[in-house]
């Protein structure tokens, strides 16, 4: 360190100018290709895709007429869109709290296990579904939910219960998909919560024990507050991804029965690629983006965190 300081003092002024020039060209040469790729394959498609909402765009047409805000008026009248909107919130409002509660308790549970080997084994077991392709998991689960020869109905029958049409009964379809989503997804949050729990110093609990606190009080007054930063992160990331969930809805039910499992992402996909109403799909995607943005901001506000990018 000392030698560097000495050398720095000795460096002539001109060399410093050269240094700056070298840094500038380094920034330029390293960012240029990256930013170009980024522009071409991210920014331009996004702007292009978003601008489509002002047009009646069908990729096969030569011309696409400008329609202003007509797509949004159509949204206002589209009953299926309203249903998809409600379904998306139903899904999110059940799945996210369920996810957080389950993952938090499993994480606390695993952290209490004394043996490192078992702790790691449990963590791996719960995490394993998260690495499988979601589309593959959805195919596997739709066979498990099958009304005739699916695993769940085989078990129900053995136990002497009546079979359930998991994916075709309007009462159970969305719940079935939520169960599948939780299976596929809880691994991430368990790992993150476990890390958050690890960072809470043991002395807090020891002190609380000396004060005669019970398990619930320790959870309520130590674990929860000290996990708030982790929880906020988990909440925000889970919300962003759950609002956009797609493969299981397309593969397991494709929105049926009676549009009970049609969520916004599926409705966007269908209008964009099945009906080729790209303009209308863009308008819906824009609404979805606004929802995600709003939810994220509200969560951050409530979390009162210094969220740094």
């Amino acid at each position: 360190m000392e030698t560097n300081a000495v050398r720095m003092l000795r460096k002539p002024v001109s060399a410093k100018g050269k240094l700056h020039r070298e840094q500038r060209s380094f920034v330029l040469f390293s960012l240029l290709p990256i930013i170009t790729l980024f522009l071409v394959f991210s920014v331009i498609p996004i702007i292009w895709g978003t601008m489509l909402m002002f047009f009646n765009y069908n990729p096969l047409d030569e011309s696409s007429p400008f329609v202003g805000l007509a797509q949004f008026q159509r949204l206002w009248e589209d009953e299926v869109f309203h249903k998809a909107f409600v379904n998306t919130f139903k899904f999110v409002f059940i799945a996210i709290p369920a996810n957080i509660v389950i993952t938090l308790f499993i994480a606390i549970g695993i952290n209490k296990i004394h043996s490192t080997l078992w702790r790691n084994t449990f963590r791996t077991m719960f995490f394993l579904p998260a690495i499988a392709p979601l589309a593959g998991s959805a195919v596997v689960w739709s066979t498990m939910f099958n009304g005739n020869n699916g695993l769940f109905n085989i078990i129900l029958e053995h136990l002497g219960f009546a079979k359930v049409n998991w994916l075709t009964d309007p009462a159970t379809a969305l719940l079935s998909i939520i169960v599948m989503t939780l299976w596929a997804d809880i691994g991430y949050n368990i790992v993150i919560f476990m890390a958050g729990l690890d960072s809470i110093p043991d002395m807090f609990y020891e002190a609380a024990k000396l004060d005669g606190a019970n398990r619930w009080q320790m959870f309520r007054h130590i674990t929860l507050p000290l996990l708030s930063r982790t929880s906020l992160f988990v909440f925000v990331m889970t919300s962003i991804s759950y609002f956009q969930m797609f493969p299981q809805f397309q593969i397991m039910t494709n929105g049926e029965p009676q549009n009970e499992t049609r969520v916004l992402s599926l409705h966007i996909f269908d209008h964009a690629f099945t009906y080729l109403n790209m303009g209308y799909a863009s308008a819906m995607a824009f609404i979805l983006l606004l929802i995600i943005l709003a939810v994220t901001i509200i969560q951050l506000r409530i979390g009162r965190s210094q969220w740094e990018y």
Binding site: N146, N148, T274, L276
Partner: protein, 424 residues
Amino acid sequence: MNKWFAFCMAVVLTAAVALSGCSGSKEEGASGGKVKLVWWSHDNPAFVAANKTLIEEYKKVNPNVTIDLQAFPYDAFIQKLKASFAAKNPPDIAQMFGTWVTDYAKKGLLQPALDDSIRGNFFDASLGAYVVDNQLYGLPHEYNLENGGVLVHPKMFQDAGVNYPPKTWDELVAAARKLTRYDGNKIKVRGFDFTSGDNITFTFLSLILQQKGKYWTEDGHVNFSTPEAVKAMTALKDFVVKYKTTDMSLFGTEDISDTFFKGGSAMAIRGPWTIAAGKDTYKVSDFEYMPMPSFTSEPPYFAAESGWGEVVAKASKHSKEAWDFVNFMMDKEQALNWNIKTLTVPANKETASDTKLLEAVPLMKTSIDVLKYGQWIGPVQDRDYFFKQINDQFQAIAAESVSVEDGLKKIEKEINKMIDQHLQ
């Protein structure tokens, strides 16, 4: 770490360059009199096999033409077609479903047929979607019908002491009710089933036609506020709500023909193409394909889509060779073999009346007999949207959350809105 990283990078990049290099996109085209055509189809194994046979046969006559057949899963195929035409790099020839053709033709993306006189060889229903502004934009292999025939288990009739086959609508309903079996409140054997995505719509439309009703207006919109439409929809609703010969629990997950072959229904109205699955996948032969009785005293009129056929892209650099191959496929002999291999109903009138067809596929007789009663479904514009509206509302009607009249009004409104968008 760094050396390892750099080493991996080098190895992998070399591999990538090698991989993409050895199979790089050589400029397709005519070199030394040789022509390479790219031909897309969907990946139904029977279709792929029949297409490959066509290529081999063609090669014998035209050794200079290489045809590269690329087959994709059905859903992906639809999207890839749209994407490739939008990006102006479509295949030379595409084996499209007839109903899709209209949209591509209207947008000037297809090459019109060189020889228009061939039109008379085909059934009108199978040609409908291939004609835009009185110009022919492709040729059909298949008369795609979902009506006319019913998959049926005669043994179930025998066991229940019901006369087989039912000849009139009333007999059909009576038989269906007697054949339905419940296990608690869960249906075990469906007496008469029609609850699949295609068949709800097609059965509905055919019941309108059999009352001599119409569902198109002069300006290309739909009209479902007719008494005929109400009666047709009520008849379908009754099967679910009143007679309870089927329920909606299969909709969207299992094809009604799969349920039928597993013994889950006594009668199921489904196209003749499902017969193959029964024989190949389920290895059953205890079923028959009986004529569907008419709803009225009129003949069993029905609506049909234009089925699978061939189109040539306007952007193709070898449209002459492409059309030559398409015409070869439509040749009587080739067409017959194709229809037999794929178990599809011929679009070509001569092929349909060829005795060799029924020798090879006896069960197809039921369908062949009713071909003359079929008419083209009409300019539905967006086929999937059209069917989805009817299916959505039928589910609501069957669940009794909406009345038949209101449901029909909603169908009409939504479909006409879509049609307006397309006619703009």
